[in-house]
């Protein structure tokens, strides 16, 4: 325990850190975590319920680590709290992103592989695939239905004149049940509000803000491909780099189909520890 506290305090002592974060919540682009850096993010998804549904709040914690300059891994821990129901842990997921090409190109592909161990009460909606999630049934029922999923994404991303354009195509397979292969997508574009840095350490300068838009949703499965009975959202995204190492993000999403919530609100705060890997190695007497 003493080691954990010490480790945490030591890690937080890193001051000059980087956090030029993408404003996206759902869409991935080709920008990876810098090698050896650890990003800790706390985010949440809440919705405006339809009649007969209950308001929920679904927080998650994300630990993102740059293993190499071309390989980033992330661990998610997820929960959910539903009004007049209960608060529960809904599962975890481990994802890996790998950049196959060394250099920047017009279109940059990234390969993505994820394993999820979650239950049906999970509502963070980090990505949407297949049909719409069940937001009507009680947690006591949904938490008993376990999902073990393998998910892959083809991520394509371009930086064009300070704009980032990114598209993700998702294929997921639930290993717990025979639902076929489920599909989903997300598209996004974003840009920093200023493209030159001022000399001062200002918090509210335009250079610290970026904004954009995401569109994402399910595309059914091999049992029925298409947007019928799926959730679809259009969501503006905003990011504010409040210091060199921390960023706040916000996204109000609008449901585009009857199976979507009328609105989804996402909020996130991330803190980046630069050189975490070498600090950790140094702490245990290893060679950084």
């Amino acid at each position: 325990m003493r080691w954990i506290v010490l480790l945490f305090l030591f890690a937080l002592s890193g001051v000059a850190c980087l956090a030029q974060e993408s404003p996206y919540f759902v869409t991935y682009n080709h920008h990876m975590e810098e090698p050896g850096n650890l990003e800790i993010e706390v985010s949440s998804t809440t919705d405006v319920p339809r009649s007969g549904q209950r308001f929920y709040f679904a927080p998650w914690t994300e630990l993102e680590y740059g293993i190499t300059a071309r390989w980033t891994a992330e661990l998610y821990l997820e929960g959910q709290s539903t009004w007049n129901d209960s608060t529960i842990f809904t599962g975890w997921r481990l994802e890996n992103r790998f950049r196959p090409l060394k250099r920047e190109h017009r279109v940059n592909p990234v390969l993505y592989l994820e394993y999820e161990s979650i239950n049906e009460a999970d509502r963070i909606q980090k990505e949407l695939e297949g049909g719409a999630p069940d937001v009507s049934s009680p947690n006591s029922l949904l938490r008993r239905i376990k999902d073990h999923e393998l998910e892959t994404k083809m991520i394509l991303s371009s930086d064009i004149h300070d704009w980032n354009l990114a598209g993700n195509f998702i294929v997921a397979k639930n290993l717990s049940r025979s639902e076929g292969f489920e599909f989903g997508y997300s598209l996004g574009f974003s840009r920093a509000l200023a493209t030159m840095a001022s000399g001062s350490n200002c918090r509210f300068c335009r250079e610290n803000f970026s904004a954009g838009m995401e569109i994402y949703g399910g595309l059914g499965s091999t049992l029925g491909f298409g947007v019928k009975d799926t959730a679809q959202y259009a969501a503006p995204v905003f990011a504010w780099m409040i210091s060199d190492n921390s960023t706040v993000r916000f996204s109000p999403g609008i449901g585009l189909t009857h199976d979507s919530s009328p609105a989804l609100f996402r909020f996130g705060y991330s803190y980046e520890i630069q050189g975490f890997g070498s600090k950790l190695s140094h702490l245990f007497g290893g060679k950084p």
Binding site: A16, A69, R70, A192, T195, A197, G199, G275
Partner: protein, 139 residues
């Protein structure tokens, strides 16, 4: 004589201590070369010396962890010493291309997520990084 010996020893130890954290033996990866078109690009901010301050801020935020606050590199990270002539003799376009693309198999990530003009600001600031003995030149 004895006093001189202590002074010499102090200088040697100081230089050793200083060089321990730096990377004066840095050698550029010969395979890490931009195409001619990229190498020949000129810095659009070359006539805006006031942009250097922003470049310094970006350098401290994005680069100092691996390249040291004075750009001298860090031996154990095998990172480039920007004060070396081998780096300073590279064209603005080359430095811009290297910041943009990175050299991922040697630990240098791509910084294409930084807006283009901010990357040129970084190049502008890199030109200011000279060994302490040399006076800074105008960009």
């Amino acid at each position: 004589m004895r006093r001189l010996g202590i002074l010499e020893l102090t200088i040697v130890l100081t230089l050793l201590a200083a060089s321990f954290g730096q990377n004066p033996s840095y050698q550029s990866d010969p395979d890490w070369r931009p195409p001619d078109e990229a190498a020949n690009k000129t810095n659009p901010l070359a006539r805006k010396p006031q942009a250097v301050a922003g470049g310094q801020k970006l350098f401290l935020r994005n680069c100092a962890e691996c390249h040291n606050k004075d750009g001298s590199g860090i031996l154990k990270k095998h990172s480039a010493d920007f004060q070396l002539a081998a780096v300073q003799q590279q064209s603005d376009g080359t430095l811009f291309w290297k910041i943009t693309n990175g050299n991922p198999d040697h630990g240098m990530p791509s910084f294409s997520k930084i807006p283009e003009l901010e990357r040129w600001q970084l190049v502008l600031f890199l030109r200011k990084l000279k060994p302490p003995s040399e006076s800074p030149t105008q960009p």
